[in-house]
Amino acid sequence: MYRYDEFDHGFVKSRVAEFRDQVERRLAGEITEDQFRPLRLMNGVYLQLHAYMLRVAIPYGTLSSRQLRMLGHIARTYDKGYGHFTTRQNIQFNWPTLSDVPAILADLASVEMHAIQTSGNCIRNVTADHFAGAAADEVADPRPYAEILRQWSSLHPEFSYLPRKFKIAVTGATRDRAAIKTHDIGLHLRKNERGELGFAVYVGGGQGRTPMIAKKIRDFLPEEHLLSYATAIMRVYNLHGRRDNKYKARLKILVHETGAEAFGRQVEAEWQALRDSELRLPESDIRTIDAYFAPPVLPDRPGGDEAVRLARLDSRRFAEWLDQNVTTHRNPDYAAVTISLKGIGEAPGDASDSPMEAIADLAQKLAFDEIRVSHEQNLVLPHVARADLKAVHDGLVEIGLATPNANLITDIIACPGLDYCALANARSIGVAQSLSRRFGSLERQKDIGELKLKISGCINACGHHHVGHIGILGVEKKGAELYQVMLGGSADEDTSLGEVLGRGFGPDEITDAVETIVETYLRIRLDRGEKFIDAYRRVGAEPFKEALYAGEFRAA
């Protein structure tokens, strides 16, 4: 993985010193809150309902065991013993004091981490496929390009005061696990007919109050033009993006109002002036960054299949976990493991200090020192020998993190919602917990099959409700929480936006409503092979509306 060079170390260290000074001056009353707010936000410090919140960047969701151990240390030392992994592959600490933040940032810097650009109208953490470098369906690891974008976008003077925040995601695989079409820029790494690497470029995707699916403006951008083309997009956005209305300031609005074709032409015109500038990436620079992401040397581990076969016979629990949380690796002796942070009845994405350290130990011992954070709020060990799967499983059982529910209905995405967030209108976590308990039976979950349930506590859509097969949006109506349900969203290569079904449901009704939807699906599906999303796309919303609103179920 990427290692800081002297410049990176010096830069992050000086930034910590600068923020330490700013905090001291703020606490001494030398600067006002109006002056300080943008400074703290630039360093990832928000103020929420109960306390400050620190959002730490995890570039493209990749962590070493040393870094994960440090996150556990921070949770224990400065927070209340846990952190919350987010849908942008970051982690949030919910309870730090302002006076402790400089010390936390210094601890993070010691393991090559920071919180820069986790807030504000700048280019945020670049996200990537959580199976990058391990996936069997990948043409190349997308993370070197995410790292190139990170270096280019960090404190880029031209792009530090954009009309609004800006999100980029990259995948190198056929299956889109990085939700690239819900980002301002989505990059799909691919090879052309000559076997050269480049990107399909999508722009103007996003969720929030005006969800849009990104449009493709270029089928193949040779890799050496990554930064010149990204700069061209940013320049068109910076020039024409609206600054008069924050709700219309995201790139998606500009692309929508300009039209994708016209926007693409503007980008191409801008790019003509940039393509042969110093932004063109020399082959040697790309390969230098590539080398940081060279996959670990994976020794031959024959016998994995036999070990797995025997362990499966011996332990039903292992077999269930194997079926659900273990993914094919490009090396047949290996597998990628999903560590579910969605224990039945628990808050999605929360992880406590000791388990974080235990996962770090497991990764160090049995998974080549690498951990990933998925945008679905789980952790991943991308490289595990199949012969070691049982040992990893048993290690996870010991810390209560072997819930075999990846991609099932209880693998819920949920934002922090009104339990923590100052922007929220309704709670998300409690709804997720209630649904998780309702569908807690593994047998029932497996019968239902793949189902993406996503919950946001406000219109900003951090819980990705627009792209849930079942999406739930919490709103406040007449002082009470009300939950709108939408169906048919999807965040993969066939990205679609969910459609609102009808009237919303109260907190005491929403779990029953979702159960009605699921039961309707089970009744109408052609067979067990037809997934929820496929059944919905075949029949549309009507049977679900009928079941929810026309029957005995009383809507709020």
Binding site: R26, L27, G29, T32, E33, L47, Q48, L49, H50, A51, Y52, K80, W95, P96, T97, L98, S99, A347, L418, D419, Y420, A424, R427, I429, G430, Q433, E476, G479, A480, E481
Partner: protein, 103 residues
């Protein structure tokens, strides 16, 4: 009826302006403004709190009295007064003698 709430600058803790003067970290002892004049006075206290760098995000929030207990009208404020509803071991609700209930 309104009370004055804010977050303490140094640690972000939710606080309320007390009937005895000063910022306190539980809602129970908050001073209640019962008319426009009292609201204006509390509002001025909040602005002074910002200027003195004691607190940030000061605002007046609507409350009701329930058996003599101050209960904010909005769920958001009830959660601020108690703590996360999914973690009753955290926040003010976890402290001895604090019985605030969010929802």
């Amino acid at each position: 009826m309104k009370i004055l709430t804010a977050n303490r600058l140094a640690d972000g803790e939710a606080v309320w302006f007390s009937a005895n003067g000063g910022w306190i970290d539980s809602i129970g002892g908050a001073e209640i403004a019962r008319d426009k004049e009292e609201e204006a006075r509390l509002d001025a206290v909040g602005k002074a709190g910002l200027l003195d760098n004691d607190v940030v995000d000061a605002e007046l929030v609507e409350v009701e009295l329930n058996d003599g207990e101050i209960v904010p009208v909005r769920l958001r404020e009830r959660i601020r007064a108690a703590g996360p509803t999914n973690r009753t071991d955290l926040g003010k609700q976890a402290r001895p003698g604090q019985l605030a209930e969010a929802a």
